[in-house]
């Protein structure tokens, strides 16, 4: 239930995000989910794509600083209380969330999380019957 995610280091400079996306676009790489974290000095672009190894190799060729990180993902009804519930499950077990982002999928929401301990988080959520998504599920989005 661990999903590979591309993390790309970006200088805080106009045009850099465009260049990453153009490089991927040229090879017809589909982006399933995307999030950008930024500070005043730099940013990190996070992407979930169907074939992360290929995308990573492509970006490396273009000299981007890119790595594959691991996240987990759940599907919940598109309402705040459901999001809150799963976060509560994690915080009760002292599992902290380093970052999270989400996107709608029909009437449901797909939520991506990076936890202090992804494996424990998976276990905890499974015990509470929360629907976890696999990398394969993502390919079908």
């Amino acid at each position: 239930m661990i999903i590979p995610q591309l993390s790309i280091f970006l200088e805080n400079k106009s045009g850099r995000l465009t260049e990453v996306l153009e490089a991927l676009g040229k090879e017809n790489i589909r982006i399933i989910a995307l999030s950008v974290a930024d500070t005043s000095e730099f940013g990190i672009l996070r992407l979930i794509v169907p074939d992360p190894d290929r995308a990573r190799a492509l970006l490396k060729e273009q000299h981007f600083t890119v790595n594959i990180s691991e996240v987990i993902s759940v599907r919940t009804p598109n309402e705040a209380q459901h999001y809150a519930r799963l976060l509560r499950i994690l915080s009760d077990l002292d599992i902290s969330v380093e970052y999270t982002y989400g996107f709608p999928h029909g009437k449901e929401a797909v939520i991506v999380l990076r936890c202090s301990n992804n494996e424990e988080a998976v276990k905890a959520l499974e015990n509470k019957n929360i629907e976890l998504l696999s990398a394969k599920d993502f390919k079908d989005f």
Binding site: Q5, S7, F9, E11, F42, I44, F64, T65, N67
Partner: protein
């Protein structure tokens, strides 16, 4: 225009040469017999002290470099027992080991003498109040000026560097007439003076002696306009003595070298040949009277040229031009010496970044600023903002503690800093000298 030591400073050049020749013979004998390192070097070159009979034989001797000083850290090149050393200074801001210099009581007396000449060159005398805003400490600037100021009988104000508001207040309240600091700090003071709201007429400042970093004629004009003073360029390096090696007079057409103590040559930094009179090249000094740390043909790495014509002020001592640059990659930042290799060694000690960097030097509001762009190591780069921020802060701290300089660190992508383009691209100096 007063001259501190008219007998020497206006001396006939043939007479001067006779003194220099006597002194070089003594100096070479002294280093040969008292400093094993020099003796070995001369033996390797096949030269005994008997081969040096006058200053014209100097070219036969091997050069001394900063590396020689480092290799003999701390006291290996001293030519007297430590019981004779009464003062120790170090070069400004280098990683790990500074270059160490030692002075005997006589050395301090000569240093005071040449600094007295320097201050007199700038028009100062016993009626003056000299505010010394150079740092006091291992750096030679503060104490060098201090002893010279006392020697001419001026009232010395040893305020040291920093604390600009207090500098302005003391300058006003004590009626300082001469300020000694770096030229960039002088411009900073000029602005602080305006901000203080005190009218220029209430200050008694008339001259400044500025050195320890390169500056241009434009900067001189700006300082003179803004502070309404005469801005005098002084030159020195701790290895040779400290400030006082050379100084402009009020004519402001070159810096008079105290040639009876420091003998200058100009060499081609590539071929190491001595160049003909008037050529631009690297300045090399041989100390003629120093006891603690005599130096034979010390390569300063500063590029300049010498003018042997007599100056309108009456002094016959040779004049050097303002230095136009360096024959190595040393930078002078806020008076602190910095070699790019020092940055490299800090980077190599850290994980998480690659030793690929670009240093951008600029001057903002008359103060030097440094920005270091470094590449994040891909293997280290996970995807946490906090990890990158920690890395950035840690690098800034390490640079501050090992170089003594505040450097703003920016993390960049690898593509930005070219691999094969070599050293020249490593440093971008936007300051205009």
């Amino acid at each position: 225009m007063d001259i501190w030591n008219r007998h020497i400073e206006c001396m006939d050049r043939d007479e001067l040469k006779r003194i220099q020749s006597e002194r070089i013979v003594e100096t070479v004998e002294r280093v040969y017999f008292n400093v094993p390192y020099y003796r070995h070097k001369m033996q390797e070159a096949g030269i005994g002290p008997e081969k040096v009979k006058s200053i014209d034989d100097l070219w036969k001797l091997p050069f001394t470099t900063k590396q020689d000083l480092r290799d003999n850290y701390p006291f290996g090149l001293f030519a007297v027992p430590m019981t004779e050393i009464v003062r120790i200074h170090g070069s400004s801001g280098t990683t790990g080991k500074p270059t160490v210099v030692g002075y005997t009581r006589d050395d301090i007396a000569i240093w005071s003498e040449v600094m007295a000449r320097t201050l007199t060159c700038a028009g100062a005398n016993r009626n003056d109040f000299i505010q010394i805003a150079y740092g006091y400490g291992l750096f030679t600037g503060g104490l060098g000026l201090h002893y010279g100021g006392e020697k001419i009988g001026a009232s010395v104000i040893p305020i040291s560097g920093g604390n600009t508001r207090r500098q302005i207040q003391i300058m006003h309240d004590f009626g300082s007439t001469v300020i000694a600091c770096t030229p960039s700090y002088a411009l900073y003071l000029a602005e602080a003076m305006i901000e203080s709201g005190i009218s220029r007429d209430e200050f008694k400042l008339k001259a400044g002696v500025f050195g320890a970093e390169p500056w241009t004629e434009n900067m001189r004009r700006e300082i003179e306009d803004k502070l309404k003073i005469k801005a005098i360029d002084i030159y020195g390096l701790s290895e040779v003595m400290g400030p006082g090696v050379a100084s402009e007079c009020l004519v402001q057409e070159g810096l008079h070298i105290s040639e009876d103590h420091f003998y200058p040559e100009i060499i081609d930094p590539e071929t190491l040949e001595v160049l003909p009179e008037g050529s631009m090249g690297e300045l090399v000094f041989t100390t003629l009277t120093k006891e603690g740390l005599p130096l034979i043909r010390y390569r300063t790495r500063d590029l300049t040229r010498l003018n042997y014509g007599r100056c309108k002020c009456g002094r016959s001592m040779v004049r050097m031009d303002k230095c136009i640059g360096r024959s190595d990659d040393m930078l002078i930042i806020r008076g602190v010496n910095l070699f790019p290799s020092q940055i490299e060694s800090v980077l190599l000690e850290m994980s998480g970044i690659k030793p690929h960097y670009q240093l951008i030097v600029d001057r903002v509001n008359n103060l030097d600023t440094l920005e270091l762009k470094v590449e994040v190591d891909e293997d280290f780069f996970l995807d946490k903002i906090s990890q990158l921020e920690t890395l950035r802060m840690k690098l800034q701290d390490n640079l501050q503690s090992s170089l003594g300089l505040g450097i703003k660190v920016t993390l960049v992508e690898p593509k930005i800093l070219g691999r094969s383009e070599g050293k020249s691209n490593r440093v971008i100096d936007k300051r205009k000298f």
